[in-house]
Structure formats: structure tokens, C-alpha cells
Symmetry: C2
Subunit: 471 residues, 2 copies
Amino acid sequence: MSETPADSVVRTVRTYIDTHRAAFLEDLAEWLRIPSVSAQPEHADDVRRSAEWLAAKLKETGFPVAEVWETAGAPAVFAEWPSAEPDAPTVLVYGHHDVQPAAVADGWHTDPFEPVIRGGRMYARGAADDKGQVFFHTLGVRAHLAATGAEAPAVHLKLIVEGEEESGSPNFRALVEREARRLAADVVIVSDTGMWSETTPTVCTGMRGVADCEIDLHGPDQDIHSGAFGGAVPNPATVAARLVAALHDADERVTIPGFYENVAELTDEERALIAELPFDEGEWLRTATSHAAAGEKGYSTLERVWARPTAEVNGIGGGYQGPGGKTIVPASAHLKLSFRLVSGQDPYEVEAAVRDWVAARVPEGIRHSIVFGAPTRPCLTPLDHPALQSVVRAMGRAFGEKVRFTREGGSGPAADLQDVLEAPVLFLGISVPSDGWHAPNEKVELDLLLKGVETAAYLWGDLAASHGKPA
Amino acid sequence: MSETPADSVVRTVRTYIDTHRAAFLEDLAEWLRIPSVSAQPEHADDVRRSAEWLAAKLKETGFPVAEVWETAGAPAVFAEWPSAEPDAPTVLVYGHHDVQPAAVADGWHTDPFEPVIRGGRMYARGAADDKGQVFFHTLGVRAHLAATGAEAPAVHLKLIVEGEEESGSPNFRALVEREARRLAADVVIVSDTGMWSETTPTVCTGMRGVADCEIDLHGPDQDIHSGAFGGAVPNPATVAARLVAALHDADERVTIPGFYENVAELTDEERALIAELPFDEGEWLRTATSHAAAGEKGYSTLERVWARPTAEVNGIGGGYQGPGGKTIVPASAHLKLSFRLVSGQDPYEVEAAVRDWVAARVPEGIRHSIVFGAPTRPCLTPLDHPALQSVVRAMGRAFGEKVRFTREGGSGPAADLQDVLEAPVLFLGISVPSDGWHAPNEKVELDLLLKGVETAAYLWGDLAASHGKPA
């Protein structure tokens, strides 16, 4: 059998990766040695050094533009490598170069900022979250060029690598809004997620959004004696509890009027795809350190966390919480609620509905206030989106296996890119649950890391070829 | 018109009081100068000095027995003055000699431990709560003897004056159990309450009891990410809120099965007597620093706080309560509940019912524990109880006005006396709401204080005469 053009691309890419693998891993290790912990002020210089290191490395990789972008907080890195073909699609890759705190005392077997390779894994803080997954794009684009023989990528390639993701991305939205013109893209590829497992390659198709609020409830002007007054005045802690209790009906559906109105319901195909995954509820519960599954009636655990909106009490407090008892009617009570949102839900409509619902339920004699934080919108890429199909093909080619679909229950700054740039967000990640994000002994599987490189190498050509074509 | 024997008693008593009034007030002031603050360890010696001062003063008054009784905490004072008539009833007066903390910095116009008389009032910490109300019994019994011409009172008179009431009486029950034989009485008279107002003399006929518990609810082994797991595992803060919300029905009646089963319902007469009081709900709400009245349907505010049992949340806590938001499913949540109890309710039956009710409502995946404190039983004296009628007559004679009835919504150590000694508890207090218990500028109205003396002077004779007679 003679080699097909496709086979030739694979052979070229793999050879290129094999040849450059050692240098690639050495470079990554160098980057991982910079303790770019955004949450710790004493590492502010390291976060800046990390940004400068990356910008320099991207220039070395071939990006004609690679800049450190200032924000009100830690700096981000922007890089751009235009295609020779003006009509090529523009792709923006998102990642972050800051990392979670880490110390040997937390239970690391080796220095978290001195990477070591052991058993096919590289151990270091940031190995998977997210330096490794940003970095595979450097070798990826070089392998892509090796395969095409061109001087520039098949797509207009842009990278935005922020420096405060582990601190909640407080300045990211403002940065995206400020630099919207330079960040403009047809597709956003987020490389800050993972796959189902080592043996089940998957593409994430969406994240839930989130809206959160604090509710303060005030009753008496001070704590008052529950003997003298109890049973004859409204108790704000009782009112807080009744709000929380009223959030769900007996089927654990959220009772806020209109909450489900525009929810993108799961299609039969989507449910079937979720059901295909080798899900072990016992194992999932162990990961959740929880002792029972529970939630909205009619949905599986994965459907509940990936595709259904929720109302959750994150904190509640009121009255006396010290040791022993204190017979008071408390002066006040406080609630922190968050609502996970799915495609179709508008955070501001949810906010308005929650405000109305709360106001209608607070009784006479109780004063309340409700404050919402800045919401994060949900994002969801339809299964038949051409760019998603490109990711699936590129990944399938790299892994040699059927690629399945997941979603992400959490919420992330990717939604800001979708929002401001009005571009669909896709996810390309090769991390696996055992990588230990935010935990001691974080690692990345080297085989998977190189599959990430390979996927990136195939992706730009596929995206360029399929761009603008109907699914 | 010639003087009746009754008129003669009144004249003798009043003359006696007038004659000894100045010395009585000087003695009281001397006692009030001792800062017997039981809650502050640096005043431990003062509390002891207060006990010793009182014991000496009671001896001087004529009590053949006056002893300082040690407890595991601050000392109490016991005194006894037997009647010459062996078959006379035994009366035990209860009060306390410790006081609340007080400092000029809290807003006192004068030194709280340097009594001053101004505008017919004596200002000092403890003037009303409770030294003044204990002390009126010293001049009271002397005036009683002056009227009868006897050497000993008409009843076997006992006093127990504890030293830790303002610290929650932690050792009182044990003391009463230990000394039950010496404290044994046919009737207990508590002089640690008050009247409706300066112009409405009243007798308190009962106090609510209280049972309180702490409930801990445990879900995940640690706080977990509400994006990754929210909506698919039970949330202990939600469970805590649902327990609180389920405590009451739409009529604000407690839903615990059996809770109302043995409740002594208000009679029509009792309701009429409560309705007779010049109650101003606006003023009551201002005292409660509350902004609406609310409670069990079908009952007035006074009925709710005096005669109806309640379930109140005194504290609730779970999850993140700091500034901003934190998207977690909390590991645990905690509740502090208290149940005010009325006559007929057994605290241990209530405890068992609450335990069953909670256990039945905690869902799979949530572990709970529930711990009850030592309960305080309710006490209630029937309106037609002969001893209560004696108090009403004695007070009516002193005040020259109709005596009405109140109850007390709070719970107190008096219930321990009722419980252990198996004696009915009556209340004789002359303090008024404006006296400022526990507040700066506490005072006692001298006119009312002397009416208290006078009431005590009439009471022992009346009790002796009516003892054992049917109502």
C-alpha cells in the first residue's frame, strides 16, 4: 500500500515531534521553574518573569508578534502569527501562565517548582494547569508548519495567555474589552480543560455560566431575647432558611419563575453521547467526597452537573454560632447563593427573576438587600459546529481513537471571550482527572502532552480547510 | 368610723416602714456598693463579699440561720426563720445577689457601684435586678413582726439567694438537689421579676420553659466545587435551611408531631385577663427593636410570648461567610434551635419528638448529630391557687389597686426549685420595665420598692391563714 497524503502528514508531524520532544520538555521545565503564583503578592515578580519568558519563547517559536500586556493586575501575554492567506479564519487560543500556590509542606514528594520526569509523567506545579497545555501549542504550530512546508500557519493564529486565572481573572474581562480589536477571532480555542481519562479522549463542548448573589436580611435592630420576644416577631434566620428551602421543589427543580424558560434542553443525541461515557458513580462520589447522589429528577449525575442549571447555597449565617447556646432572635442573617446557568439562560434575566422572587417572599418586618456579582455566561458549542468537528478530527487523528464529548460544570473566563468577541468557544485539553489540579504532586502525562502537540499540529490545517463550510 | 383590725395592721406596717426607711435604704446602698459581677472573674472576691454581707445582714434582721453556701462556682446565701407554729406553711424566697457587668463607659451618668438617689429613684447596678428585690424582704419580715407582735414570722420563712444568676445559674440546680431537704417548702416565692408598669401592679403567674439543641449536618468530607459537583450531591446548608423552614406551617404553628399535645391551652378567663392589660403594640415593638409583629395564628402578641410554645432558630451557619463569594457546596452546616415550652409540655418528650423529626428529614448522604442542653421546665400557677390569691391580696393591700396578672416569656432557675422541691412557684416583683435591667443607669423606684416591703409584710400572715384552705 502506498502512503496517502494524510498518512504523510501524520508521519511528518510525528517525526517532527519525536525530533523536538526533548528540547520541548526542557523548555517547558524551564518555564515551570518560575513560580508564577498569582495569588501570592511575593510572587508578583515571578508572574511577570513568567510572562516575559513566554513572550520571548513565542518569538523564538516564530510568532512575529509576542507582547506582554499590562493589566490592572498581573500581565498577560499576547502573540499573533498571521496566515499567508488573508481569507484564512482567525483562531484565538486561550490559556494562562499563572499557577496555584504550592509548597513541599502540602505533601509534594519533590519541589513543586523543580520539575521531575518519573514514570512517563512530568511533576510540577502548572504541568497540567495550565503551562503544559499552553506550551503544547508552540511545538504544535512548528509541527504544523513542518507538515505543510509553509512559512506561516494555515490560520491567523493568536494566543492570549492571562496571568490571573488562578486568582479569579479579576482583570481579564476589562483586558478583552480593551483589546477586543486585536483579539478578534472567528473561533476561540480554550486550552485549559481536560479529557475524560487517559483512555477516553474527549472534547469539551461547553461550560456552565454562573450568577451569584449575597442576600442580607435584617430583623430586630439587635439580637433580642427569645424568651421575651420569641414567637411574636419575625426571625431573619428563619426567613433566610425559608428562602433557601423554597428554592427547590420536591423534584429538586428550581422554583424561581422563568428560571428554565430558555434553557437549551438536552437533545436525545446529547443524552446518548453522555450515556456512552464510562461513568462510575461510586468513583465520582469518591472524587466529590460525597455520600449520595441527589439532584433534579429525571437527569443523570453527569447531566445534572454538565447540562442542568442549579441553585446552590454556598454560605448561610445568622445569629449565634459560637459554642453552647444563646437564646436570641438574631438581628440579621446572610445568604450566599449561586446559580449555575446553561446555554439559553441570560444571567441578567436570572438576576431580575431572583430579585423579584426574594422581594416577594421577605415578610413584613424584615428588611433585605441583595447584591449580585458580575456573572459569567454559559457557553455551548453545537455538536455539528464545523470548528468542533475540526477539533474532533484533529484529536481523533492524534489519538487514533473515537473522540467522545464532555462538558464542564464549572464556569470560566472563556465565556468573556465568547461574550466580547462574539466567537464560538471550543475546548482542547489533554489533561486527565488524575493530574491533580490545585493539589500536591500535580503532573502531566507526557504521552498525552505530546498528543496535544499533535492535535494542535493537525488542527490549523483542518480548521482552514473546513472554515465557512456548512456542517 | 372605728379602725378595723385590718386597718390597724396596715397602719402599723406603714408606720414601721416609714420609721425604718432611711436605714433600710442606707443598708441597700451599702450592699449595692459591692460590685458582685459574677460574669467577671476579677470580681469573684466581690461576689463572695456580697454573699457574706448579706448573710450578716440577715442575721442582724433576725434570721436565726444565715449561711454562705458554697457551690462549684460563686457562693449562695441561705437563711431560715422558723415560725413558732410548727404547722405553719414553709415559704422559700428566691433571689440572687450577683449583678450584670457595668461601667461608666457604657453610658452610666454616675458610678454604677456608687448608688445615688435622684427624683425618687435609686440608681445603681443591681438596684432592681436583683438586690433591691431581695432586700425588701428584710424590712418586710420586720414590718410583719411589728404588725403581729410576734417574735417569729407566721410562716417558716426560708431564703435562697444565689450568686450566679447573671451567668446562667450553672450550679444552681446541683445546689438545690444537694440541699433539697433544707430548702423544702410548700411554696416558692421568686422575687426576681417585675410588674407591668408603675401604674399597673401585677403578679406573674408563670414562666415558659426552654429546651435547646445544636444540630450538625455533614455532607461532603470537605467544601467541594459547586461547578464540578453542584446540583448532583446533597448540600448540608440546604438541608439545614429545609429543617428550619419545615419547623412551622403556614399558620406559624410548630409542625413537630405531638408538640402541642399536652399544652395547657389558655382559658377564656386567662385570655380576658391578658386582654385587660393596657398593651401598646407599637411600644412593645420598639422595646423589641422589631419592625412587625408575627407569630402563631389566632393569638395576640402577649399570648404568643407568655402562653404559647415556640420553635426558634437562634443561630445558623454553613459554608462560606466571608466577604465576596465562594462557589462551593459546603462540607457542613450547623443549627442552634430552642423551643420555649409552656405548662403541660415535658422537655424530654419534646426532645424525643425533635430527634425523631430531624432524623426523618435528613436525606441520604447527609450525616447528622443533635445534642440537647439541660432543659428548663415551664411553670404556671393556676389563677385560683390559694397561695397566688394570698400574693394578690397582699399586693392589692399595699398598692391600693386592682392587681392584674402577667406571665414571663423567658425561663429561669425558678423552674429548678419547682422541679426538685415539687412546690408551686409564685412571683413577687415590684420592678418595672423602665428600671433598665442589664442596661446603663439601672434604677429602682423607691415608692415601688417600699410597696414591695409592704407586700412582704402582709404576705406571710395571709399565707399562714389561707394555707391548706381550698380556693
